[in-house]
Subunit: 406 residues, 2 copies
């Protein structure tokens, strides 16, 4: 018997609602809350139709600590699942502390003005959560989230010592449009225009934006162009995986996608600042959004698969060893099950699994935790059980393998 | 003592005004006329400043035959130089016939709705111009224009028989922006999206848009990507150059330019049809124009050179022979002389030369004429004299040379 409040009614919020609804023994009462109750109601109707279960909806303002605390005190949930904007993490952590509710999120806090991707703001809550005997589980999505658990699993079962980790994220889906984004194109522009960063022998190293690339031959989806980027899970993994010498993160982008993004940036169509158009002030990015396909139209038409995993090199029983642990997810299968394609699905399912492990007591622990600090076994079991089955494949050990691409 | 009316106050109109002003003996009175008198006045002020001569300006509506005829009857010019829009060719030819004025243009008539690039509408005036004892000189720009004269010169002096002609047009200028156009981007989009066409052994052959490319090693500007396109001068040259077996036209586009144009087309930013933007109807192409650099800003910052010429293969004294006849023009030199870069300069100077040859009597002949039908020698001489010096280089004769690129 437990009650959960899901905050956020975007693509991921929808997946979390559907998946929680499927586990009626763990999630006996579900409330979906966001600023726009219409979005909650749309999801609730889909959940009713596809999962056959009623969930309740509420309007809340996740920027307001006092109002959110009052709401939590009235609702008295066991756990809050935060899949709202990363800017709202701290407000929700404060409200959970004040109201005595456990907390879970999928992406680390970012200050709205200067995106930083750092855990320091959330790690600063450790002592307060311990003293309040509350739990906060950070980054329970796919990456961060599942990728951290893959590393913890490798450390526990597959290696005596891990030397290097390469996290590889491929979306080989195709929506059939020459160009479209299913989220804010600014986020991608930021990704491809800011320096890449990786960690080696205790130090962070920077590389020019998109300057380090490899063609990685993924299982299921085959060879893809993968670019070295910074990604937040490296910050906790480099502290928590003992003996680690290097960790890097790679995301795939097709040449076609990058070309479109760069041209649109070149001509100024991705600018926020308004221009004068026939006496009216219009931001080019806003106009571009109106010209591009409606993101809501992408879900049903996206075909193909994702493949996200960890390529880990180390030593086992005195011998060098290398494995790739991964999940591959099919966009259309996901859409059939929860009306979202695989991008939201791979983030929402791990949020539900993390929540289930807290509520079932298997992961419940006072304090603020990253995923790899908890026992990977029950999480790995539930990935197989609830839609994100994983594989471990042995890889050829080759000292050069992940170094030749600079 | 002769009076000329220049119709059109765009970039080419400006060049024609400056260049006519430089030849005060031939062009004793110059009137610059267009719909927007402010544009005429701006050019007149520049002509006064740079060439030290006064020219008169008038507002006219070149879509209205009766009004234009009345204007010509009042002004009584010896010649009308039409550098307005190609849609207006027939109205101006009608008005010149009615008012008894000679006519010259630089681009063939296009019906406004379905651009056709065909001489048939203008060739239909032949008998009327002969009977009225008036002259119409068609296509006295660079291409058509100078390229036709190059062919006539080759036929007269360099070959006993011409077998193939390849006209090659390279603009190797750089304005320093990632992307900009100095004219309507629609025209380029039409060029790269419609089938290419060339003439061989009495037949027109079509190829897929941009499907035939060669890297041509130009004098002065070096190797450039040149694409086979249709261009209007081929229609008259294939009739007027005896023994011709094939004629093709090639224009250079950089990969970068094509990529930008294709991406903008892909995402819908080059569409005319309006979209709903926050309750307002806006054509994406109009918005794109507002985002791109102001075409007026390109002139002063464009560096580099053009190179346009004819690669001609044939027989002389029983031996195979191949030549390249070309002019190369420097954007910044042109800008210094007439406040326009080389694209307008290379069109405007030949218009002035054609006009000077009519007024001086060297080319004056009743009827409707294409450039290659008149004696090339005085035109070639004036090209050297008035800013477009040309070169003839002997090329290696190689049967494969212009065939291997399909």
């Amino acid at each position: 018997m437990s009650k959960v409040i899901i905050v956020g009614a975007g693509g991921v919020g929808g997946v979390v609602a559907h998946k929680c609804a499927q586990l009626s023994e763990t999630f006996t009462e579900i409330v979906l809350a966001s600023r726009t109750i219409a979005k909650c109601n749309k999801i609730a109707a889909d959940v009713k139709e596809l999962q056959g279960r009623e969930i309740r909806t509420e309007a809340i303002d996740a920027d307001d600590v006092a109002a959110t605390t009052a709401f939590l005190e009235k609702e008295k949930p066991d756990l809050l699942i935060n899949v709202a904007l990363p800017y709202q993490d701290l407000v929700l952590m404060d409200a959970c502390l004040a109201a005595g509710v456990d907390y879970l999120d999928t992406a680390n806090y970012e200050p709205p003005e200067t995106p930083k991707f750092e855990y320091k703001w959330q790690w600063a809550y450790r002592e307060r959560y311990e003293q309040a005997k509350r739990m906060a589980l950070l980054g329970s999505g796919f990456d961060p989230g599942v990728t951290n658990v893959f590393c913890a699993y490798a450390q526990k079962h597959l290696f005596d010592e891990i030397h290097t980790i390469d996290i590889l994220d491929a979306n080989a889906g195709d929506h059939g449009y020459p160009f479209a984004t299913n989220f804010n194109p600014e986020i991608n522009i930021r990704e491809i225009t800011q320096n890449g960063r990786y960690w080696e022998k205790g130090e962070w190293k920077e590389v020019e934006p998109m300057s380090v690339k490899q063609v990685y031959d993924f299982p299921v989806v085959g060879p893809q162009d993968a670019y070295l980027l910074y990604h937040e899970e490296m910050e906790s993994l480099c502290e928590n995986i003992k003996g680690l010498q290097r960790i890097r993160f790679w995301m795939t982008f097709s040449e076609k996608y990058l070309t479109h993004l760069r041209v649109l940036e070149n001509v100024g169509m991705t600018n926020h600042e308004t221009i004068d158009f026939q006496g009216q002030q219009i931001a080019p990015l806003e106009f571009l959004r109106a010209v591009l396909p409606d993101p809501a139209s992408l879900g049903p038409r996206t075909k193909g698969k994702t493949c996200i995993g960890c390529d880990i090199v180390g030593v086992k029983d005195g011998e060098p060893k290398r494995v790739f642990i991964y999940n591959s997810c099919d966009h259309q299968e996901c859409y059939k099950e929860v009306r979202s394609q695989a991008i939201s699905y791979t983030t929402g399912v791990p949020a539900m699994i993390g929540a289930s492990l807290i509520l079932d007591g298997l992961w419940r622990k006072d304090g603020v935790w990253n995923m790899e600090q908890l026992d990977p076994d029950p999480f790995m079991e539930r990935l197989n059980q609830y839609g994100l089955p994983w594989e471990v494949i042995e890889m050829p050990v080759d000292a050069e393998a992940s170094d030749v691409f600079y």
